[in-house]
Amino acid sequence: MTFLLLSALALIFFYGIYFAARTARLGLAPAHFLDGGSALPGWAAMFLLPGIVLAGIGIDRHLGLVALYGLQAGHIGMGMIPVAIAALLIWNRMWYVTRIANLTTPGEALGRYFDSIALRVVLLGLSVLFALPFAANILSNAASLLEGATSGLIPRIAGVWLMALASAFAAIIGGWRGTVQTLAMLSVLILLFVLVVTLFTEVTAQSPGFPIAAMPQENGIMWDRLPGVLQNVFGVGKTVPAGGIFTAVGVASTLLSLVGLVISPAALYLAQTSRHGKTLGLSAVWLTGGLLGSILIVGVPVLAFRMIEGPFALAELLYGVEPLISVMLLIVMLAGAILAINFFVVGSTLLVLREAVLRYLLPQLNTVQQRLAARIALGFAFFFMAFMASFLPLISAILASVTLPLSVQLLPAIAGLTFLRWISRGAVLAGLTLGMLIVVFTEPLGLILFEGLFVDLPWGRWPLTIHSAAWGLVFNLLLVLLASAATMRHPQRYERDRLHNAIKEATGPASRGLGAMGGFFIIWSFLAYGPGAVLGNTFFSDPIFTTLMPVLGVPSLWIWQILFWLIGVPLIWLLANLAGFGSVSQDRIKPITLGPPPGQKPPGWLAESLRRIT
């Protein structure tokens, strides 16, 4: 298996280098290296969206969680509907913002719209978090997997450097366009391989699997139901929740953290640099909501049942039947990691370069020099990421745990930029600060630091089984609403109105039925993954509307999940096609200049810091 696996991995890396070299040999303008000429092929972004989401969740991690917690962890698959909706709404509007006001990066868009350097700095900080600890944590786990799959032939640290080196080569040669084109193929590969491996395993298995057989669980974990709406516990590390950690609100808040993937700086950059067309709708409706949703809700519990003894046991079993399918199982997990690493490191590094280095530190560089700077920066980023993955895996894991919840705290700012013109700068900054603080203190980062330096806190990770992303966002939104109400007539509102009016003009008249769709989505969310989801525990196995006891042969919660996923997909379709969020067009765009022209002079505090360092 080792030879086959390494050969397949080598082919993947050569594929990346081949397309990087082909892209470089096109002889495009040097500026294309950084943004793909803001005309990345629509199909690439279309395939990448589900790949980013799946890789961000962590395929092996998710399979492990479902094997451990059963359908309550599998309920996270419902998140593909809100994630697809978030991508439709936000990516669509970010594309228009980019074309209308020539705001080419997420940091520039938020910074210029709210006239705030602080927001640019927050975006830079988030980019660094995604590029270094978040990617390093994924790479470290992938290298451990590779070590196990090769029976120790490739130790973890060697695996880290090999994968980082191969990824860096392709990125340094091909830039943003080359990377995105390669990762799109990886995304297709992952989606197809998961389906094939699941079907193959079931067809060739000697014993019945899920749902005919029940998942063996220990420690009182309720594998076939959600353990309540909430659990009155102080959090992981303090109290063990009875029946499992994935309560209804726990699931809902975890789904919220997945939105952090879609609004991560690199993902927004992908949306901004894509070509116009109708591929966003196809991607959100059929690939993310439809295909990926079906894989996570229907396929993953079936495959996870076979992986109760771990991925290597299943790979060994499959190797005896068909070696290439066994390799496919391992490639699915490794390719997910490779996709996430490349996407977040390359995207985030290019953003940091454009936002900080080329803007403030080295503004005099011409485009050829900028490309060289980008190549050097990518080399350094991959080096530091691999260094963290090799020698600082624990620190990477701790910092990675806050990355997605912190990203979610940008939601009010992005909502302000894209839809809600009344959200003001002060409100966003106040909410962001509070939300980020709460996230840090409901995740290991803040808990370890505070408890190490001062006293033990009474709560642990995810108090009341609520994800830190939701804790932060609730208080964040509360503050944003209050502060925005107080600053409704601020003079800065004029500039914000100009952008929103231009977006309205470019996107055409608002579709009728958006309010009804919103209302339906809230009801759907309440029942699909909100507090109402606990009804699904027994709704079909022990119905309240009849005394008859149906014999289903499958858990009631699984039917509930499938049913609400089937209802959710048409909802995305309506939003994409009826409301028009599935396509973007240049036809009605009238460019504007937002606010005063951007200065090249670094802010005082940044100049002063640089002066002290240099």
Binding site: L28, A44, Q181, M185, L189, L192, F193, E322, M328
Partner: protein, 155 residues
């Protein structure tokens, strides 16, 4: 794709490769399973995967307003010919236990792929245009009148 730019050509190439790379790997795995004792149904599944990828390739052609490139056509024809020769040789000089089921699955699979190619050509180019693609004899006629439209000229 009328007068495609180099970027368009590379983008289409990447899209085609994004389709064939995973689909090809899956097809090879299924065919290997079928040929090493799995039975004809696995071979049929492998052939179905190739057919699905071919249909996907046609969809790409339609979406990008393009057609099969000469490299793709050559590779496809070469692979198909090699498979056909391997099938015949396998039957003639291969092991005796190469069952009829395996022969039938591969043979029917290749026939279905050929049928799909013919149907595609008929739909894309029409009966006359599809025939003209193979009509190499007429290509040797260099008389100027052969270029006239009413004489079926196409050069």
């Amino acid at each position: 794709m009328t007068d495609p730019t180099p970027i368009d050509r590379l983008s289409r190439h990447a899209l085609v490769m994004a389709l064939w790379t995973p689909a090809g790997f899956v097809a090879v795995a299924l065919l290997h399973m079928g040929l090493t004792g799995g039975g004809p149904w696995w071979i049929a599944a492998g052939m179905a995967m190739i057919l699905a990828a071919f249909v996907g390739h046609i969809i790409i052609n339609v979406a990008t307003s393009s057609s099969f490139t000469s490299g793709e056509t050559a590779l496809g024809a070469l692979s198909y010919s090699a498979a056909l020769v391997a099938l015949v040789l396998g039957r003639l000089i291969g092991p005796d236990d190469m069952g009829e089921g395996v022969f039938l699955a591969i043979g029917v699979g290749l026939a279905v792929i050929l049928a799909a190619v013919i149907v595609y050509m008929l739909i894309a180019f029409g009966p006359r245009g599809a025939f003209a693609r193979f009509d190499v004899i007429r290509d040797n006629n260099l008389r100027a009148s052969s270029r006239l439209q009413h004489r079926g000229g196409r050069r």
